[in-house]
Symmetry: C2
DNA sequence: GAAGATTGATACATCAATCTTC
DNA sequence: GAAGATTGATGTATCAATCTTC
């Protein structure tokens, strides 16, 4: 009954639905596993990874936001919950009081050290082990292209204001 | 600081993070758009699409669960919210009272008819327009492989009980 | 005023427990 | 007892509004 409105062709629809399904199932499985095995949510994991990758286990909330791509309020709520559970600690930054420093606690560090290897094992099992080296190459390229498109929207194909039309402003910059 | 635990190599890490980032940003953008333009969440949209694809705009809750991949409770909660907003209606199935029938209301139908073209336009703009035909081919194949792996776990590489080890049980069956 | 951050309200997701009908 | 579905509790995400400090 949706056929009378403009839609994707068969292949596009197949690819799009696969894209959604792969991600939904993969993240659902990974989140369940990490929750069961380490008592962490996927969101907890992301925050802890960011912090553990920083030299002192300390970052500004702003930087965690950059790393995770979350907005301020989501991050703030989540940090509150994590702080309440003793995984991180908030500390006022000495130089500029606006910036909230977030530091990894001992509990937080042991949580991520415990969780990471299991998590990686599942990412391997469910993602990388299903891919050939060629497919890995292709994905690297394709995702880079997709991210470039998302970072740098093309001249508006839709009815939205799209003031960003300077195509040589910033080089595509890989995460 | 995470380098002393087993991890992915550089390329794998890049691909994995891109995979997560692409999906996160794409779905976040799409959800925002569809919410703003049509007052629907991504979840609403999925349910409405399933229903609108069925001949009578009527499905059993069970079938919507299959289509969306959601579990019973999530679906039930969501259908309650949608029913409250007048997008769908629950009706007892005449033949077997266990099965709950869900029917599309007029409001639900016009909501999806209004939302779909805009949604598709954004999927094109942000996803398909960034891909070459070759990349589309590659993705179709790769996602099929990934789904096959998720449907049909390989003999356990991890410490989990994995009783499903009959590799010729069911042919990989594409959604 | 703008950037960084927080709060409160609401919607959504997940889990365990329950209920009903076959 | 098992399949389909619902409920309640808790955790998570999003939006708008606010607060503080530069």
């Amino acid at each position: 009954v949706v056929t009378d409105i403009s839609w994707l062709n068969d292949r596009e629809q197949r690819v799009w639905r696969s894209f959604l399904a792969v991600h939904a199932r993969l993240t659902a499985s990974l989140n369940r596993q990490i929750q069961r095995e380490a008592g962490l949510s996927g969101a907890d994991y992301q925050v802890l990874v960011s912090l553990s990758e920083s030299p002192a286990g300390r970052l500004r909330a702003y930087e965690i936001g950059e790393a995770t791509g979350w907005e301020k309020s989501r991050l703030s709520h989540h940090l509150s919950r994590m702080a309440q559970r003793g995984l991180v600690e908030r500390q006022a930054c000495t130089t500029d009081v606006r910036y909230a420093d977030v530091v990894l606690t001992e509990a937080g560090r042991s949580a991520i050290v415990n969780a990471a290897p299991r998590h990686v094992a599942h990412v391997r099992e469910w993602f990388f082990d299903a891919l050939t080296p060629e497919q890995l190459d292709q994905l690297e390229r394709t995702y880079a292209d997709l991210l470039a498109r998302l970072d740098h929207p093309s001249p508006c194909a839709t009815d939205f204001p799209c003031d960003e039309e300077n195509p040589d402003d910033q080089p595509p910059d890989l995460p």
